[in-house]
């Protein structure tokens, strides 16, 4: 094919690339900030009881939605083999045995300490998206067995979308400004 090697158009000032980048960065920050601010208000805390069923290679429910400040009470069962439930960001690691009414609860920050419990309770103190993963080798796709805990308001999503929109609009704005300067 045919497309000629890319050269800057005649008369183009390379410094304008820096100018365009600054425009993009400015828009990214402004729109990201707006997205974060508009990301939703906190809801009053409540208690949520959820039963999690682990199986090769997933969980039911696969996504758990709670709000920041909620007390989350989890019970577990496994429909096939022994599984784990390692919750990112919450210092919880549970081993779920298929035939036992209790689970083994560990806190990774306190290695060696194991409790047998029927229910795991924690407060959803950090907002955002946290994955829970199987921590007990359970089969071929074990490393990819996971689910999601979404603690609202998940402001990272609207902030990210805002930054994305800012970047696109900033890029186009930079292109328009460069075109005008070239003409001038």
């Amino acid at each position: 094919m045919s497309a000629a090697p890319l050269q800057p158009p005649a008369g183009e000032d390379p410094e304008r690339h820096g100018y365009a980048a600054l425009v993009s960065l400015g828009c990214l920050l402004v729109f990201g900030g707006v997205g974060f601010a508009a990301g939703g208000a906190s809801q009053p805390p409540r208690t949520r009881s959820i039963h999690v069923v682990a199986h090769q290679y997933g969980y039911e429910p696969q996504v758990i939605h709670v709000n920041r400040g909620d007390t989350v009470r989890l019970t577990f069962s496994s429909s096939d083999v022994t599984h784990g439930f390692y919750l990112e960001g919450y210092d919880l690691d549970v081993t779920i045995h298929p035939l036992l009414p209790t689970v083994d609860l560990r806190h990774p920050s306190q290695p060696g300490k194991v409790e047998q419990v029927k229910e795991v309770t924690f407060t959803a103190s950090r907002e955002g998206k946290f994955r829970f993963r199987c921590s007990h080798t359970c089969g071929f796709l074990h490393p990819f067995m996971l689910g999601e805990l979404i603690v609202g308001p998940n402001r990272l999503l609207p902030a990210s979308m805002g930054m994305l929109l800012g970047l696109v609009l900033g890029g186009l704005l930079g292109l328009a400004i460069q075109g005008r300067r070239s003409k001038a």
Binding site: M1, S2, A3, A4, P5, L6, Q7, P8, P9, E12, H17, A20, A21, S24, Y57, G58, Y59, Q62, V63, Y86, E88, G89, P108, P111, R126, G128, K129, F130, R131, R133, T137, G139, F140, L141, H142, P143, F144, M145, L146, G147, E148, N154, L156, L157, S160, M161, M163, L164, L167, V168, G171, L172, G174, L175, A176, I177, Q178, G179, S182, K183
Partner: protein, 498 residues
Amino acid sequence: MSALPHAAPAPQPTPGPKVRSGRIDLFLRFPRLRWLAERRWFQFAVVLPNLGLFLLFLSAGLFGTPVGNRNIIIVFVWILWWFLLISALVPFTSRIWCTVCPFPFFGEWAQRRALVQVRAVDPKKKKGGPGVVIGRNRYFGKNLKWPKALSNIWLQNIGFLALCTFSALFLTRPIVSVIVLGSLFVIATVLHLVYRQRTFCSYVCPVSGFLSLFSMASMTEVRPRDLDVCQTCTDKGCLAGSDKGWGCPWLIYPSKLERNNYCGLCMECVKACPHGNMTVNLRPFLSDGWLKGYDESYKAFIMLSLALAYSVIYLGPWAFLKDWANIAEKHDWAGFFTYAGALWALALVVLPGTYYLVVRLGRSLAGAPAGTTAPPTKDVFLGFAHPLVPLGLLAWVAFSFPLMLVNGSYILQVLSDPFGWGWDLFHTAHVAWTPVVPWWTPYIQVALLLTGLFFALRSGARHARRLFPGGARALRAFAPVALLLGGIVAGFFTLYVG
């Protein structure tokens, strides 16, 4: 069997500075690097340990535990190697993997009948003797020319997509990884015996295909230092070979290198150039600014589609999708064909088709000044497909990062017990599985994708100005593509942080 000795002293580098703008000549800055690249034993010395490692991996796959995360072939190849390759080697050091790659080792040995030396031929005595003389070097084997119709990366595109369709198998089963990696050794060796030089690497190797695409973004390049020297050079040692180096094994003309795509960083041109004019430059990210054909643009679509599909399957919570991909265990053939069909349709039809329509829309919106015609659609399509290079690369880094952060502790385990036989060589076999700051993952992924989008938009804007001179036309042409690029990243955001 004898090779010509290194009789003449090493050529001194051409006087500088004629370095291209934004480049740092690493051979001038670090002369020891040049010294190293000029040693005949250099590539052998870096490939040999790597070959040993891969033979260890193959042995572990054959004789070790079938549990993937306890076997070194899975953990080192698909977690550590992949992460290093996509996150560090390609973005910073171009195709340095090809320098150390063990797959062509046996084939190239058979082809050259030499591990280190060069088989140089006196130009006046080309006839006679064993093997085939190409340029000023003697080769063994058939040395056929690769068919012109296949002299592109379509085979690599289809091969890579086909291989990746079965990723749930080779990512998790040591024996399947042995079959995949072992096949690469066998195919590379056979093709080296039949076709000339690095035909396998240039046109067949599935890894080479995406390395060629993403090396365009790399911050390292091999280039001639002074183009004037190349233009007046009558020797063309970089192409024809010499008593110091083989003619470019990748069948390219090093003195006319303008892109990284098909340069395997073997350093033969550095050795063979009689003027010491070939060098390694450090350069800005994404310095190679254009795609040459639909085969390259399709590689970009395939890579982006795979990053998206893998993010859904391997980083998403949907167990039924993992079951569909996991055909060897779940035997859900309807599900597997649905998954495979959707993946191929996305990579080969939906994404390229949508992109094409959006590019056509932009081209129509831009119009053409009176008395002129708009640039050909193919040029616009390939120009606006270039932004997919940085976006695809950063999307792959964003996908690979959590795999490393979460599964990195398996590396310590298999280091002590590579076969899963209960060894504890370095007292790390019983290190607990510990994800490393996994809650940072969404923030890292957002930052990576925004970086990719930034470079994609910058690339698109440059092509828009090139193809549609005049600010308003460039803006109208690129706006639909920019929105589509933003939409793709929004899809990734929804998966990663939504």
